[in-house]
């Protein structure tokens, strides 16, 4: 077995044994969806007919944020505990340790995505995507989740305590709100348009919505992947540097 496989299965096992993590990862996104659809949905009119159809992809994005932000806590737990000295003295690669946490985050998010889609379907979400569109949507969501998880890992390396680490991830939880995730951008004040239309969440959400509802996506999928690729290209070396600094 490679270091990566060993540490990924470790992180997944640790997640499974942490009831808080399971609840946050699975129950919270479903609750959020219900809140959006039943509390806010009546007041919001969108071009897609039923609000659940509009908001379901947005909730997927939001729960990716929650799932990934947990990576910050799990990484920080490792860094503040004794286990990291063990891994280092065994010459385990830093990338493998962090990648294990990212893999667990992706697994958590896959489960959460399935739960959210299931509940969305039960309350009236009807996607019209073909196999190719589903595959493309899943790929973009995976790229987004992976990117956020590495950002979470960086936050975990940066923070002194697990509590602070989870605070650092506020940005990624907040970012879906000033985007087209929950309401169309045109309904926001004009000064927000520039930001809302050009921040990374918007092309991701536009791609998911377009692909799942069989609507034109324009260049959103490419923009979404470019954002993810660009952020990863910055985050990975930053993680490596932070890890070195942390363990010097």
């Amino acid at each position: 077995m490679s270091e990566y496989a060993i540490l990924a299965s470790r992180s997944i096992r640790l997640t499974r044994r942490n009831p808080d993590a399971v609840i946050t990862a699975l129950v919270l996104p479903v609750l959020l969806m219900l809140v959006f659809v039943y509390f806010f949905g009546g007041a919001i009119e969108t071009s897609t007919g039923k609000y659940v159809t509009y908001v379901a992809p947005g909730v997927l994005i939001l729960c990716a944020g929650y799932g990934a932000s947990m990576t910050a806590t799990t990484v920080s737990n490792d860094m503040t505990g004794g286990i990291i000295d063990r891994f280092r003295s065994m010459d385990t690669s830093s990338t493998a340790v962090l990648a294990g946490h990212v893999a667990a985050s992706v697994a958590r998010n896959a489960a959460a995505t399935a739960a959210v889609l299931g509940v969305a379907f039960a309350i009236g979400f009807r996607p019209h995507a073909g196999t190719g569109q589903w595959l493309a949507a899943v790929s973009i969501l995976l790229a987004y989740i992976t990117t956020l998880s590495w950002l979470g890992a960086a936050a975990g390396l940066l923070a002194k305590t697990p509590e602070a680490a989870s605070g650092f991830t506020f940005v990624m939880l907040f970012l879906p709100y000033p985007s087209s995730a929950f309401v169309p951008v045109e309904t926001m004040p004009a000064w927000l348009h520039g930001f809302a239309e050009n921040q990374p969440v918007t092309p991701v959400i536009e791609s998911l919505r377009g692909l799942l509802l069989d609507q034109p996506t324009g260049n959103s999928p490419w923009l979404a992947l470019a954002w993810c690729g660009g952020l990863l290209a910055v985050t990975l070396p930053v993680c490596a540097a932070l890890y070195r600094r942390r363990t010097a």
């Binding site: 060993i6 640790l14 004794g82 286990i83 063990r86 891994f87 280092r88």
Partner: protein, 316 residues
Amino acid sequence: MTATHARPDADWAIEARGLSKAYGSVPVLENLDLRVRRGSVYALLGPNGAGKTTTVRILATLTRADAGQARVAGHDVVAERSRVRRSISLTGQYAALDEEQTGRENLRMMAALRGHSRKAAAHRADQLLERFGLTEAQGRRVATYSGGMRRRLDIAAGLVGDPQVVFLDEPTTGLDPRSRRTMWAAVGALTAAGVTVLLTTQYLEEADQLADRVAVLDRGRVSAEGTPAELKKTVAAQRLDLTMAGHEAYEAMAARLAGRLLHKAPEELLLGVATDGSAAHVRALLDELDPARAEVERFALHSATLDDVFMELTHE
């Protein structure tokens, strides 16, 4: 010198020369030298802040020294870090384990990370659980373990890769006396397998029990080095406390004892000197110090504490 085919460092599992380390402007280690013979148990004895943990972390490649060189298992700790890491294990003061994994899962993970196949890792884990008396607890999460069990599992986790050198940083601090005995037996078992052990401790008794040689560390320097027997000759095992008859007698005796004084408490008119605790030595001491049998009112014997050892070692 006669010709020999052995490499110059073949006898030494650990060789450190001139190690220095400061955190900011606070010096932690000053020009520390250390040599540990292969297959032996070596104890670094000292109080908190003496530099024990820093020494261990430098030798285990986790911290870099500001100056000096060290070789562990024949490899340089900086230039050949990976080789050193593959030859050692470190058990720190805080258990390096996953609380939410079981004992068995922890060991299997470590063994797999050391390159064992799944089957070999399971086998190695079972062996170690057995050897450290954890077979019964193997299926429980580490979070439910007692301090002693945790420490033993921690050491077991360090052994999955068959290290040549094992570092134990305060292996019994915070353990109850019975767990301490179990740990001592575990350390004994290590050396029986030919492993070199460097351990740190605050307890004189522990160094005495376990170590072939001891270095007494004081403020980042080695203040004494030798076998426990040699050290005990220079360091008293017991302290004789004398309660003086009055102030004048107290001052006079304090002046006379000067460098031999281990302890003094003026308000109680108390002065402490080293003794081996035997009746003959105590009698001789009393005769020597108070030939007129008028100045010493009462006496009491105490086991020497580490403080006494340092007092005595730093007198010269």
